[in-house]
Symmetry: C2
Subunit: 272 residues, 2 copies
């Protein structure tokens, strides 16, 4: 079963579009890397019935220093095999170096999918996409104000982010490429969806980044459970109380806030 | 002393623009991570008199799996303090996540400089550039054929790579930003230099990627020893014989091939 098939099955089984972030922050979790791993292991354990994907940011593990990737590996291994795990590393380099990044993500660490940047162009994107059973999300439009610096630059008649989505589509012979679009800008989500009706979207930004779940999902969802994977991190991880010892309980209660609208709540109609 | 001052001093002291790559490849070095570390430790030891910077690609260490970063840390620590070490990771994300990457590179691992992508825009670039004593190189124009997909797209009247260089320049209030430009395209090097007379360049691509040292350096060098840092990896590391046990000797002899023209050889005039 390839990545998108695995994602669809996990999504249908849970009536959920929820991608749970595994992003420990040293300032919010006392106890260093060991505590970060424990918090994430408990978070996985508490959310396997609602998460159809898990997504660690590589950055949040690398900030723990040389052993950070070992912690990431432990957490990655804890996810049940029926739920895909996506490495959010946003890598990009020339093809020779990109092959080493792909080997790290897909071989050494056995991730099901990964995020990349498109700036190096088609030959670099294809290094990842040639792993036909894995998923690749190309960064398209982001949630931070600085995005306007380049992503909104006109390339011909369209902004760069639409040109990037078009490049992703052109590299998609294996049908395993999607795009990353921040959930804070439903109008950009709608534009990319109008231009590329079938491309899978990964939409981070729900919760702390202030995304409007309903508007973003409404603009992205095309009937395919893999068309709209909704990333939530801090809103679940730190929930009602930032102290890690509260995490398990908080994760349970978050169902009424951040999680429910994208899990069994408002979106259950989508699965009927 | 900040990064660029340290680079200038190392460059003047050695009459060299040489940045030595620390990029082990499992297919060329038998013995796994331990052997990779050993080869790189010997490479550093054999080149401190000609290298004015060392540059590991994060990718080449990550492909060794969860313990790869520990190997990278050992090699990083082996470099004498007077020679800067540059992490070539080409990271890019929203500012919150970018802060974690910067903490990994500059705090946890104590690198003197790092490469990033500009796609997220000014607020993301500034997260790195706000480390005023460190160096930041923004990826501008690369050596692979696929670069044309995006880097040559016209944004207004100029190709995207010049717009990216302009964005780097605008973020350069601390005077610690440069750009990455592949050495295989001296004409692109010349265009960026004409538009930005003082921006420091990091130019990978000498050796295996086929860059023309003289043309690229001629187009980039502006009289500042930090204006043109020339990256060489495989051509030194695997030199005359790919077997690691030959490395020490090969590194010595490589002075007559890849290293000399950018070290004490052809370029010594630049330092008079």
């Amino acid at each position: 079963m390839n990545y998108l098939e695995k994602l669809r099955k996990a999504s249908r089984d849970r009536e959920s579009l929820l991608c749970v972030g595994l992003d420990p922050e040293p300032k919010r979790i006392a106890g260093g890397l060991g505590a970060a791993v424990e918090v994430c292991l408990r978070l996985v354990d508490a959310t396997t019935d609602v998460a159809c994907c898990y997504k660690p940011y590589a950055a949040f593990w690398e900030q723990y220093g040389p052993r950070g990737w070992e912690g990431l590996a432990r957490v990655r291994e804890s996810v049940p095999p029926e739920i895909p795990v996506l490495l959010d590393g946003k890598r990009a380099d020339v093809p020779n170096t990109m092959a080493a990044y792909a080997a790290a993500a897909f071989e050494a660490m056995s991730f099901d999918a990964a995020t990349i940047h498109a700036y190096h162009g088609d030959d670099s994107i294809l290094v990842y996409a040639n792993y036909a059973d894995r998923g690749v999300y190309v960064v398209c439009h982001t949630s931070n104000p600085g995005r306007a610096s380049l992503q909104h630059q006109l390339t011909g008649r369209q902004p760069l982010y639409l040109t990037v989505a078009g490049l992703a589509q052109r590299c998609n012979a294996n049908g395993n490429i999607g795009v990353v679009i921040g959930a804070t800008t439903p109008e950009a989500v709608a534009k990319v969806r109008a231009a590329f009706p079938r491309l899978p979207f990964l939409m981070p930004g729900i919760g702390r980044q202030g995304g409007d779940v309903d508007a973003a999902v409404g603009a992205a969802y095309n009937g395919d459970p893999a068309s709209c994977l909704v990333g939530v991190a801090g809103a679940i991880m730190y929930s009602d109380d930032p102290r890690p010892q509260q995490l398990h309980g908080a994760t349970g209660s978050v169902g009424s806030r951040a999680q429910q609208p994208i899990a069994r709540g408002n979106l259950s109609d989508l699965f009927r």
